[in-house]
Amino acid sequence: MRHLLSIEDLDRDGIERILARAASFAEVSGREIKKLPTLRGRRVLNLFYENSTRTRSSFEIAAKTLSADVTNFSPSGSSVEKGESLKDTVQTLSAYDPAAIVIRHPHAGAAALVSRWTAASIVNAGDGKHEHPTQALLDVFTLTRRIGSLDGKRIWIVGDVEHSRVARSDIQAFTKMGAHVTVCGPPTLIPRGIEALGCDVRFSLEDLREADVVYTLRMQNERMQDAFVPSLREYVAQYQVNGRRLSPRQVLMHPGPVNRGVELSGDVVDSPQAVITAQVEAGVVVRMAVLYEILAGARSGAPAPATPGPVLA
């Protein structure tokens, strides 16, 4: 695997291979000295066109744990205002000879486009409303550690599916792992034709009890301003996942950051059935596994992990 651009590109075997690697890295995280020499001397560039605290820091920690040299590049604002095109920025950064570029961009397909302009391996850290593949991988990782195989499990994804790249990647990843996915939210925030991804659509939480896993999405304030829903109050009344709606056997997930009191009530966030913190932890080892896979994995043709050479591919 040379790039990670989308979940769509991966099959079940590919997902399982990455997650097995992540499981082996999870042991390292438990050690006193959390460092592996695998990517020593190789450069990883974080190119984030959108604000992100957890995804960027998670990638940064993952790369540093593998001993890569990490540079964060945030062109949002300044460079865009100066009028530099994405292509020019990428070609400029390619002159630094990075082994990998981790990119987040507000437009769908940006990561795939960038992969054609540079020799570096590309990791998609979110492209518009299209995909967020590492989030989906860490979600599958977290979930399988909690409940085992996803085969036959029922997973509900609740909230603003329309604007969610997490939902699009998760629907595909969960489905590939054998789960049955239902998306649920206000009809104005469920895109027409989403069933083509292999999920069911519901507009009410009435049957939420059938779910083994409830995955809630972040509800952004601006959706109210754009009149997708009449009011926050009405959204909460219809779609908040709370103690009344959630049953104790269900696992609760959220990609973060949580709006307490909006999509989730405070009590369920803090309940033992929530695996939200475990998702964050999984983020690091899964991203380590992804970087390993594309930069040091068997098919990349790169040097074996134990023998980091003077590598600047």
């Binding site: 292509k87 437009h107 769908a108 492209d127 409303k129 895109p191 034709g193 989403i194 083509a196």
Partner: protein
């Protein structure tokens, strides 16, 4: 010299051609010809149509070998963007008309969404002067319906008509307010000229970048529903009927729109419609690649929509094929899909695309396609090119068997954003004569003077 084109068209008036095209299969549905002939062009006009090999031409007349080739009337495109003035980095009058000539066109009609917008008589006059110096084939102009395409105030249509405006359009944008369009349709009773409409309800299209459906849901791209187009077609057809006005619907893409046009015609409205090669050949599945050449407005829609547009073209609900040739510079298209401007080039590929994908498989008859490629003239109140004695020579010679890959040898257009890039087509234009002038010769096509 008497101009060999309509006075409202402008082009370089070069020396009128003297040629004899030997043994080509002449196919002109408008002149009811479908057989091999010799065609003699003298002083830019068709002087004789004779049995193959029998025409006598004066010494020195260029002989063109048409054996095994087809001679069609020159095509007329009622909808192109020549980007002049203001966006000459995308296209100009010279490159745009060169591309048109290479596609077999003998006349094109330029849209007004330039910078500045073509919305005043002085600007139209200067553009026509420029076209007389730069355009390889005759160009007609459609100025804006509303000043600055802002949808608020009518342009000075009477003065523009006197300066040669063929009709009016706010193409690129819809006339959002029904009341505004109604005023323009009423004013048409004074000034004449067709009102051509780009149909889109912005409250439905929003910030959409492709057709709304399964593909947009998968890609996470904002969608443009078919209703955005079809509801406006229905609304404006009702206005046209009520005002007895002449309205032309541009680049129709949705099944519901074709149905709305058919219903309006059945009710007696004087409306017409056009189909674009990309809507005839491609669907929104092509957008899965996120190739920005597949981004245009209206967007590529579903297979059912494509079939409806084909059926509409076949039964005459849509009278003509129009390319909506919309060049954009490479760096403008070399961006993520959502950030890219809408539009594909089309002049150089229209005939070959439709011939290869719809005529060869038997979906549409060749004669019908040739008629639809020339019908734009009638819709713009221009004389239809005909291969008949005494007519100005507007012809293109085509080798239907020649296979070529789109883009392999570059483009005549200044831009290369062609949605058919890389596809192999059959049907190569070898020679185009527009308004009696030789406007294009294919590079490898040898001609020999007698």
């Amino acid at each position: 010299m008497t101009a060999l084109h309509d006075p409202r068209l402008s082009s370089i008036d070069g020396p009128p051609a003297d040629l004899v095209i030997r043994r080509a299969h002449v196919l002109d549905p408008n002149a009811s010809i479908d057989a091999p002939h010799d065609v003699v062009v003298r002083d830019g006009r068709i002087a004789e149509i004779a049995a193959p090999g029998s025409a006598e031409a004066p010494a020195g007349t260029e002989e063109v070998d048409g054996e095994g080739r087809h001679l069609f009337p020159g095509f007329v495109d009622p909808h192109v963007h020549l980007r002049t003035p203001g966006q000459e980095h995308k296209e100009d009058l010279e490159t745009g008309t060169r591309a048109a000539a290479a596609g077999g066109y003998c006349a094109v009609v330029a849209m007004p969404n330039t910078d500045p917008v073509l919305d005043s008589a002085p600007l139209l006059r200067s553009l026509r002067d420029q076209a007389a110096r730069e355009a390889r084939i005759p160009v007609g102009f459609m100025p804006a319906i509303t000043v600055g395409l802002r949808g608020a105030v009518m342009t000075e249509m009477a003065e523009l008509r006197a300066e040669g405006a063929l009709g009016f359009t706010d193409d690129g944008k819809p006339v959002v307010e029904a009341g505004m369009l109604r005023k323009a349709l009423r004013y048409q009773k004074l000034v004449g000229g067709v009102i051509a409409l780009h149909e889109e309800d912005p409250s439905l299209s929003g910030d959409g970048v492709m057709h709304e459906g399964a593909v947009s849901a998968r890609l996470g791209l904002a969608g443009i529903p078919s209703l955005s187009e079809s509801t406006m077609v229905a609304r404006d057809a009702a206005l046209a009927l009520d005002e007895d006005a002449r309205v032309h619907f541009q680049h129709l893409s949705a099944r519901e729109s074709v149905e709305a046009v058919a219903a309006a015609k059945a009710a007696g409205a004087k409306v017409s419609g056009e189909a674009s090669p990309h809507h005839l050949l491609l669907t929104d599945e092509a957008v899965l690649s996120l190739d920005t050449r597949m981004k245009m407005n209206p967007p590529l829609r579903t297979e059912a929509d494509r079939q409806a547009v084909i059926a509409g073209l076949r039964d005459g609900t849509l009278e003509c094929i129009a390319t909506d040739h919309a060049p954009h510079a490479r760096d403008e298209k070399d961006v993520p899909f959502e950030a890219a401007p809408m539009g594909t080039t089309g002049l150089e590929t229209a005939f070959a695309a439709v011939y290869t994908e719809l005529v060869k498989p038997g979906v549409l008859p060749l004669a019908l396609v040739v008629e639809r490629l020339t019908a734009g003239a009638r819709l713009m109140d221009l004389p239809t090119p005909r291969i008949a004695v005494g007519e100005p020579a507007n012809v293109c010679l085509v080798d239907l068997a020649a296979r070529w890959q789109v883009g392999e040898a570059g483009y005549e257009s200044r831009s290369e954003n062609c949605c058919f890039a890389g596809r192999t087509f059959e049907g190569r234009v070898l020679l185009t004569v527009a308004a009696g002038n030789v406007a294009y010769r294919e590079r490898s096509f040898a001609v020999s003077a007698a």
